[in-house]
């Protein structure tokens, strides 16, 4: 599927996506934030690795209340047999977006 960002040549404005990724303590969207990443499609900011010690929202629900729109949540997958005690990537990953007119 291909989508095109809305572009209003008449007004000289266009829409860009800001992405917020929250890693939560459980699969519940209102559980506490344990990790976070942000990507700014407007180019106005340049978030990067290790740039903050304080999460932008205490939970996924707090992000919703501030207008972020959830567009992807990690699936709940059972461990592979024989690997039940392995630890690897963070499991509870939630992608949010805001559309910003620039």
């Amino acid at each position: 599927m291909t989508t095109t960002a809305p572009d209003s040549t008449a007004t000289g404005t266009t829409v860009r996506q800001q992405v917020l990724v929250l890693y939560l303590a459980s699969s519940a969207l209102d559980s506490r934030t344990v990790g976070w990443s942000t990507y700014d499609g407007t180019g106005a900011t340049s978030p990067t690795t290790g740039d903050s010690d304080v999460p932008p929202y205490a939970s996924g629900l707090e992000a919703l209340k501030d207008g972020w729109r959830l567009f992807q949540a990690a699936q709940l997958l059972p461990p592979q047999p024989g690997h039940e005690y392995d630890v690897s990537f963070l499991k509870h990953e939630f992608f949010f977006e805001k559309l910003v007119t620039v």
């Binding site: 890693y23 303590a25 459980s26 976070w36 990067t48 290790g50 740039d51 999460p55």
Partner: protein
């Protein structure tokens, strides 16, 4: 290399701290006089070392590095972690340029490495005072047992409770090979230097440290700690894997203070019920 004096070996509590966090920090352990020389030495470059060179032979052409690894506290830590005469995997001078504008992605070095009874360590030496603005190494306490491959973790920008290193000049940090880390963006006007050596053990890593405090309560406390970025459920698996590693390092498979391993390993084999009590057993018909 001579055997380090017992007083310079790590304690059991320090080893347990390393097993829990994946890191051991020694602030200002390198004397100022060496720190003053270090930048010139590192700028000039340290001669390359073939993979697998014994430590005692690796730096015959670098008097400065020999002195660094022979500092009593440093030598004691190396011995405690990887044993006598480890081999040098590789070394590197890392420079985060002033105002360079980019950070490294969060990563583990080399490739995915899932050894359960052995580990490499990386010595990281910071000859300058490192401020927050200078982009000191980011590392994630307790991430070293995660089974991930190199920069596949690059999506993670910040984790709660991460360590953004600030330290006095002359600090040495030892990191487990698996720890998630990365050089942060240097937003200062000062180039930041770090010298790294990766060591491979050549002996089984069993009871190589000072064992006087092996049964100190603080050992279990170190091994039982959790970190703010752990998810609720996976955090329990971290303790499980940590206990398994401590059992390997001590040769004591009974160590399990909170029963995480014992509970899920308990599969008794003794059968006490009589066959005759089995309701599905064929009934004997007596005449």
């Amino acid at each position: 290399m001579p055997h380090p004096h017992r007083k310079n070996l790590l304690t059991s509590v320090q080893m347990a701290h390393f097993v829990a966090t994946g890191a051991l920090r020694m602030d200002a352990v390198v004397p100022d006089e060496m720190n003053q020389q270090a930048l010139d030495v590192l700028r000039a470059g340290v001669p390359a070392v073939p993979y697998g060179t014994p430590l005692s032979e690796a730096f015959v052409d670098s008097e400065f590095v020999q002195r660094l690894v022979q500092l009593p506290e440093v030598a004691g830590a190396i011995h405690s972690l990887v044993g006598p005469e480890p081999t040098v995997d590789h070394h590197a001078v890392h420079i985060r340029k002033a105002n360079e504008g980019e950070a490294q992605n969060l990563h583990g070095d080399a490739i995915i490495d899932v050894r359960e009874d052995a580990f490499d360590v990386q010595l990281m030496y910071y000859p300058q005072e490192v401020t927050l603005e200078m982009g000191g190494t980011l590392s994630v306490p307790g991430s070293h047992l995660r089974r991930t491959n190199e920069s596949d973790t690059g999506r993670y920008q910040n984790l709660l409770g991460q360590t953004r290193l600030t330290c006095p000049a002359g600090t040495v940090v030892f990191l487990h090979h698996g720890i998630w880390h990365g050089g942060r963006r240097n937003d200062s006007a000062i180039d930041r230097y770090m010298f790294k050596i990766r060591f491979n053990p050549t002996v089984r890593q069993v009871r190589l440290w000072n064992l006087d405090d092996l049964y100190d309560e603080q050992v279990a406390a170190e091994l039982g700690q959790t970190f703010p970025w752990y998810e609720n459920a996976t955090g329990r698996l971290e303790i499980y894997n940590r206990v398994k590693l401590w059992q390997k390092l001590t040769g004591d498979d009974t160590f399990d203070p909170d029963y995480w391993v014992t509970r899920v390993s308990n599969r008794p084999q003794r059968v006490i019920s009589q066959r005759s009590l089995n309701p599905h057993a064929a009934k004997k018909v007596t005449a």
